[in-house]
């Protein structure tokens, strides 16, 4: 059972950073994962008094504070419109509304979980992460880094014309995803992001130029790109599926997501 000696609701990021230097201390988001551990924590550091629970939309960006809940991501009309529903699709099957009201985007991204729907969709959106000390860093890079003692303050999505779709394969509605998939067209190129392989999300770009008609995608092209993406990534086995099964499904999810996000040629 989780044991906590002290609870501190910090009044500044600096206070949080100083407290978080100590290895026995931990920053809490929704605390759903931490609570299931049997750790003995010195001080839990609560950032919920710092106003980091807002989604700020400007003409050029979305700035999403680390304490924004998954439910806020789901119900934000601006994010819904910009992501063509992909943001809502990515979070809507994560357990239930009660959990999504407290689980935070910061906790999801910092945890770099293999099964993460949230990491997958944010990576496809080419989001960046703003850390208190390290500053802004692309999520693609951040996901590869090992967790350190810096504070993930917010996520930034720079707006650009794009097409995007999100799909995941689950054995049951609220289970962890067996495979997560987002495809996105931006800067003249398609990219696919796959997580839950069961390793964490990774991106594959259309370097081979299999999709040559911009946002228009034929079924044959979508199928070819799906197979290409599945060949580029490594898949593993666990209780939710074998590597072979995941690879088969990956090609299908990429194809379907492409046909959803892209127009018909």
């Amino acid at each position: 059972m989780l044991q906590i000696k002290q609870y501190v609701k910090v009044t500044s990021l600096d206070e949080a950073y100083e407290l978080n230097k100590k290895k026995s201390n931990v920053i809490i988001g929704g605390m759903h994962w931490l609570k299931m551990s049997s750790k003995s924590v010195g001080t839990v550091i609560d950032l919920s008094g710092l106003g980091l629970d807002e989604i700020v939309e400007t003409e050029s960006t979305f700035e999403i504070g680390c304490m924004v809940s998954l439910r806020q991501l789901e119900t934000h009309e601006g994010l819904h419109a910009y992501t063509m529903g992909a943001m809502r699709d990515a979070v809507k099957d994560i357990v239930g509304i009660q959990l999504r009201n407290t689980a935070t985007v910061g906790g999801s991204i910092f945890g770099r979980y293999g099964f993460s729907d949230v990491l997958t969709v944010f990576m496809a959106l080419d989001a960046s992460v703003v850390c208190y000390k390290a500053g802004e860093i692309s999520l693609k890079e951040y996901a590869k880094k090992k967790a350190d003692r810096d504070i993930l303050v917010k996520l930034v999505i720079k707006k650009q014309p794009l097409r995007i779709a999100y799909l995941a394969q689950r054995h049951a509605r609220t289970d962890f995803a067996m495979l997560t998939c987002a495809v996105c067209f931006a800067d003249g190129m398609w990219r696919a992001v796959l997580g839950g392989r069961p390793e964490k999300a990774e991106m594959v770009m259309d370097e081979e130029k299999l999709l040559t008609n911009g946002i228009s995608v034929t079924e044959a092209q979508a199928e070819a790109f799906g197979k290409y993406v599945a060949e580029q990534l490594e898949f593993g086995s666990n209780m939710r599926g074998s590597a072979e099964y995941r690879k088969e499904i990956a090609a299908v999810l990429v194809k379907r997501a492409l046909l959803t996000a892209g127009g018909n040629a």
Binding site: L2, I4, H32, K35, V44, D46, K92, D93, I97, N101
Partner: protein, 156 residues
């Protein structure tokens, strides 16, 4: 440490530990409708409202609700009795294990979305595990309740 919060519209001052969970604090204060089911943030049985939002009290540190409004089924008796009795009449409750959390979450849904479609009802219910009915009875019961409420408004 001392915790001050508003439980079912009453100011409460109580002593907690840093790792006290909200479920244990509200139960110690007499709100026994709040039950511990899975304790893994999945079943929805421990649902309470914090600032009118449904959350899983088994996974919320009590210290985090300082100064906030917490509502349990005990604080929603009128709404809960109205809806609970209707659902029972519909035969939509079976073992009853999921009921407190289910009623809390249904009330949250009625407040947020008074006219949900089937998909929206099922999406809301997915945070409350029910192993008896596969949600068929609950879906039917909720739809019938909403129709009944609408017809009451029409008559008024």
């Amino acid at each position: 440490m001392e915790l001050k919060f508003i439980l079912n519209e009453k100011n409460v001052v109580t002593e907690i530990e840093a790792d006290s969970l909200l479920i244990d604090v509200v139960r110690d204060l007499g709100c026994l409708s709040v039950k511990r089911g899975c304790e893994t943030s999945n079943c929805g049985l421990c649902t309470v409202f914090v600032e009118d939002k449904p959350v899983l009290s088994c996974s919320v540190l009590a210290a985090r609700v300082e100064g906030q409004h917490v509502t349990t089924l005990e604080g929603l008796q009128e709404e809960a009795a109205d809806f609970g009795a209707f659902i029972a009449d519909q035969g939509a409750e079976q073992c009853g294990f999921c009921n407190p959390g289910f009623i809390m979450n249904a009330i949250a849904m009625f407040r947020e979305n008074p006219h949900p479609d089937d998909e929206e009802i099922l999406a809301y219910l997915s945070g409350n595990l029910c192993r008896c009915s596969g949600y068929e009875g609950q879906l039917r019961g909720i739809k019938a309740y909403l129709e009944f409420k609408d017809s009451q408004k029409g008559e008024a």
